[in-house]
Symmetry: D2
Subunit: 406 residues, 4 copies
């Protein structure tokens, strides 16, 4: 294990890949493909700096996992080499199941299969390739490993995934409200009764972390313009499936446009996962550029709009739209764009978005007081802020062409 | 006006002093003395980076005032040259009335005279020296200028003073929770009906600003260790006044230890202000080092402790201490340190601290919605957070020697 | 001109688009396509943070142009509104002629036509569309505008292009040696006899700028791994042209693979430019993924290697390779990979790279001393450093498969 | 060793004090006094952000020592616990012998005794107090420890002292030209034959480090205004010694103004070191404020000027001043200020300053090439830059009142 691989990171300085196995997985085409998938999809239309990739985020989260484990070891938590390596592998691969424009395409290209499920399939295939060396990593990921705190570091309300993505998305978008004290949070973690806890001293850093997450939701993840673009992409893909416009499309994208795989098929047929591993942002952009001159009016119009950043207007409100109003709008759209009524559905999108910064209850963030008591962060903070944040905020959106209104 | 003065600032890059008059005031010994007064007093005992001065903060706030005014002019608000210069002068001088370790010494060295009052006296004296050129600046500072929004930029719940100090204190302490989007906030200000308002788009930046302020209170301004040190300094000064230990003390400090000036005297006697202008951190440190070998046990002990950073322990609680307990503690202290009972009061400090991030009501922060409605930020935000922050949080502290307890 | 468009930038905070015309050009699909072209091409294989786009750089340079012009106006240089807007347009569009992986594809996909030439064609087409409003911008770009200093700001050894790309590439790669004082440099510019000069005070910032550029060349622009990947891409494209593998390729890419346009054709036929405007990174990645299963061994092998980051090894030396050695290596490659001799040329790349941080002479960077003398920076600096940097450093590279050697 | 002490640092995030002994030394009044000594003395008159202290720098360098040792251990260099702790102690204390305004007062208040000598005395006294636990640290500091590379990390052309101060001074002044890649440099260090070497990969980071140091000399350490202020302070102290103005001066400062101690006395008499440990910036500022109304014209004038930042003008040239010109200037000064001729010497300062970024030869920075050869950085770099930097640049300064000239 002579050659430690070091990777420059504008955020953490240097990221070191600490084991041969981790390095081999890192080099595997399944993982390397994440270089071509932007972490924030179409948010780049709003924040031009947000071009960072899932590859970079996965690497960053792996670095934070190392920092957290080093810190816990210093605190006296015993962690053996297999556990250390496995926790890093699990976080490196936690998002490998994301496809391009993931959140958009989970509702159109692939239906009802979460990226976590696909991540697990990837891990299993890699585990075969690496002769079972990912057993512990997979157990940690699935939360079947005996020491539960590892899973909490991988996936919980205070995991290294969130720590990295808030930090990184804030850095690349330039939205400084998302800035959090990763150093401070990690250096105040501990493990009590096999559970990750935060020392009371860092309570304000946790508050700030939760608040940063809430603000990033409104300012970035649910930004109206990005939401509108995403909805248009969903409709574009659904339409493409419907009208079967597969000419000149990349083989991998064609494969998923032609088929509707179930979770079971994904789990049983490695070819599906392998084809999925061929997909990245370029397949989608390529297709959109092909469809720009498609004969189907809907496909053509939506493609042109996305390419030219001529997006639907979008409104957020506190009430859902009435059914009658939706029908009325569809009618107007059909008229305006000379479409069939059922086609006009592709020019109108409505639904709800929610923002819950923190969920109280069983899997909550635990604080350990100076006297050694454990309590939920929502109880420990000095103000009803965190309680307030626990309330799920729901808003209703409506996207449609600029020149159409009730 | 050929030579624009430029000053390097690690936070804003370059600060330009834009007028001759401003430059002359900047060069005046009254202002230059702020170079020797640390902005955060004894907080440096906790955050070693926090050595920045009131001089630097005043300069930074002046820079932000320029940015805000430039932005408002771009927006179409008419601001003439006199107003521009005066607003910058007013903010440059807004804190000139601070003495060394201001918050500590306002309760001991000088009693019952706020630094704002002293700032005003300084401005009046400078106004005389500069033949009335500060008239408008003084009016703005006192809020007697006809256009009220200038005063709001100088002193309100969203003034450039707060914008700079949060930013600067966060930068120098390294407490990143205090980080705010100054750029974003300033570029979304407007003036409606002679009042500063914030465009709805920046509502999350305002929330973050209020939250950052609240977190900075707990983590920095009311940090327990710094609070303990400050309380010890208050007692030290009171004791020095009481026992009249004036040998080898600097002339200016002696002047204020020997006298208890009233506000009226400050207002009428320029010599008092002039003497005050001689005081800076070095007078206090010098005195503490002299008192370190004083024959008065209290003075000596407190001085040694501060110099050696051997501070009293401090507890924060939700209930005030009972009188009986205080007396009991004093008794124990007297015994432990072989002091008279009344002397033991200098070894025990108790009181309350409050943290109100935002005060609703008349002088609240106003949001202007896209449709042009004005509303209080506490009403506009999506969560009861800001309402929550409006609640004043009060805590009770108790400081005393480490080896004494009930 | 009510709606100023503001764009978040992680580097400068906020970028404002200051005129309607500029905003319209910004929104044009020709410009928007730059969102899908990474500024540093394949450097992302080495620096995973380097995913920023030509779109973002063009915007950043436009911002710096605004800063520079604002500063010069403050200094008393008269600049009218047309000039201000035109200088910003010229810099916004200065790189619009770049295709995907520009430096690589200029030698394979398109031959002998510089991106500056193509940029000019784009500007002319936009000028038509905007009824001649780009006349001045084009004149500035071509250096035919009467006031020459505008062209210097757009293109010279100290232009806003370089200021932005060094800053931005350093930020996104995390290579802090490229960090420069943009603020400081811009705020010490002046115009003397229609020429951009730097005040003597900022001489060290200029030295640092030149040195940063030199270091960025070795560490980023000519990084061995990135260079190897780029060379492989060049060979891949040449091979694709040669074997005419056009199935499933995007229409625009096909168009350029099938034809070898001359500069004259580019100048006379708007359709070529229009087709060019359809190309972005996704066309190339799509093609590489298609070719991954091509029947042509060379195409297939190179495509697989790039996708899997299995790059050729590369050596840099001070001497060019001997012809005999090249032939010997080609023979070994042919044998190893079972290729025809002429095919083996695609598996071996050799050539030279040069790094000249500063070129003395006519278009040099001028310093104005405190006494008002103009001199070349190479004369003004205190050390032979800049003279040293003027020496062009040339190195010879050799790329080939890892298991092949002399 | 339960309680690890963590200190917030705006530059490195968190600094951990890793051993009980280190923590005890850190808490000792000898070390704590550095909180009241600014690292850059009067540079704050030019760069208002530069208020950081020797305390903070010592802490930062200790942190970097820890980073470097952790890295070397990872590389396989064996370092035991005593060595680790001792290296950190040695660097923590390396500058403890600095007095206030050190560079200025080494030539006036204390003559001919370097701060390194005084640091050593402090270490010896602490060693006594801590029962010989500093033996190894002292040996490392004096370079008598058997493993020489530890001393190189403490004091050489590439030691953690320089790494921290360049980084820190650049950060606090805002002079970004001083920015260096500490992370990158440290992570490419190795130990070969008991000598610190740098891997070839980091050669550009070393070049940048040397260049940054050179630029920081001209822009900060030898900044004309700061130099002028420093020279005035030297003259002020010399005059104070001469005229014996000791009234109201602090006891410690008085002690050194009354006596001229030799190095031997410092080494033999602990009381002298103890008195020295009482000195900090406040003694000097206090004295200047007292002298502001002294009856000695020279003392009074210089004190007033420093307090009001009314500094002498200063010129840097390539030739030393002629003796005749100096005399002529002194005559003019005597006349202008109505002084005796020998008094006028206090109003004129001349001498030389030198800037040698890198010294070739025995103690040079060694590079290890990929093939394992050791070479001097000046030979390894691609350009004569570093050779150029090895040339010592000397300049001659002249400071005197603004209204006096030849």
């Amino acid at each position: 294990m002579k050659k430690l691989k070091k990777v420059n990171d504008p955020i953490y300085g240097f990221i070191t890949i600490k084991s041969e196995l981790l390095f081999s997985i890192f080099n595997h085409p399944y993982f390397q493909r994440l270089r071509r998938i932007r972490q924030l999809g179409l948010s780049e239309l709003v924040y031009p700096g947000a071009t960072h990739t899932r590859f970079h985020h996965a690497l960053g989260a792996t670095h934070l996992m190392g920092m957290a484990l080093d810190h816990l070891k210093e605190k006296g938590v015993s962690i053996n080499e297999i556990e250390y390596e496995s926790a890093q592998i699990a976080i490196l691969l936690h998002d490998i199941g994301h496809g391009p424009f993931s959140h958009a395409l989970e509702y159109s290209l692939i239906k009802g299969i979460t990226h976590e499920n696909i991540s697990l399939q990837f891990m299993k295939m890699l585990n075969k390739e690496f002769s079972g060396q990912l057993d512990t990593a997979i157990a940690m990921f699935k939360n079947s490993y005996k020491r539960k705190f590892f899973h909490q570091l991988i996936s919980s309300q205070l995991d290294v995934d969130r720590l990295d993505y808030l930090n990184r998305d804030s850095f690349y978008t330039g939205v400084s409200e998302g800035n959090i004290s990763v150093d401070r949070i990690i250096s105040h973690l501990d493990v009590i009764e096999d559970e990750i806890v935060v020392e009371e001293k860092a309570i304000y850093s946790i508050e700030n972390f939760l608040n940063a997450r809430r603000l990033m939701y409104w300012q970035v993840y649910l930004h109206k313009t990005a939401l509108s673009a995403e909805r248009m992409l969903v409709h574009l893909m659904s339409r493409a499936k419907e009208v079967h416009s597969l000419d000149h499309i990349s083989p991998a994208l064609k494969y998923f446009l032609e088929n509707n795989f179930t979770l079971e098929e994904f789990q049983e047929n490695p070819e599906i996962v392998h084809q999925f591993s061929k997909l990245d942002d370029s397949d989608i952009w390529h297709a959109i550029k092909v469809w720009e001159s498609n004969k189907d009016k809907v496909l053509k119009n939506l493609s042109q709009r996305i390419l030219q950043r001529d997006l639907f207007k979008i409104k957020l409100g506190n009430e859902p739209l009435k059914k009658a109003d939706i029908n009325k709008l569809k009618g107007k759209i059909a008229q305006e764009f000379n479409l069939l009524n059922k086609e006009s559905a592709f020019f109108l999108s409505h639904g709800e978005v929610t923002n819950s910064a923190y969920v109280e209850g069983g899997k909550s963030i635990k604080i350990i007081t100076k006297k050694g008591h454990l309590m939920d962060i929502a109880q420990a903070a000095d103000l009803p802020n965190i309680k307030a944040m626990s309330k799920i905020v729901k808003k209703y959106y409506l996207c449609l062409p600029k020149n159409v209104s009730l």
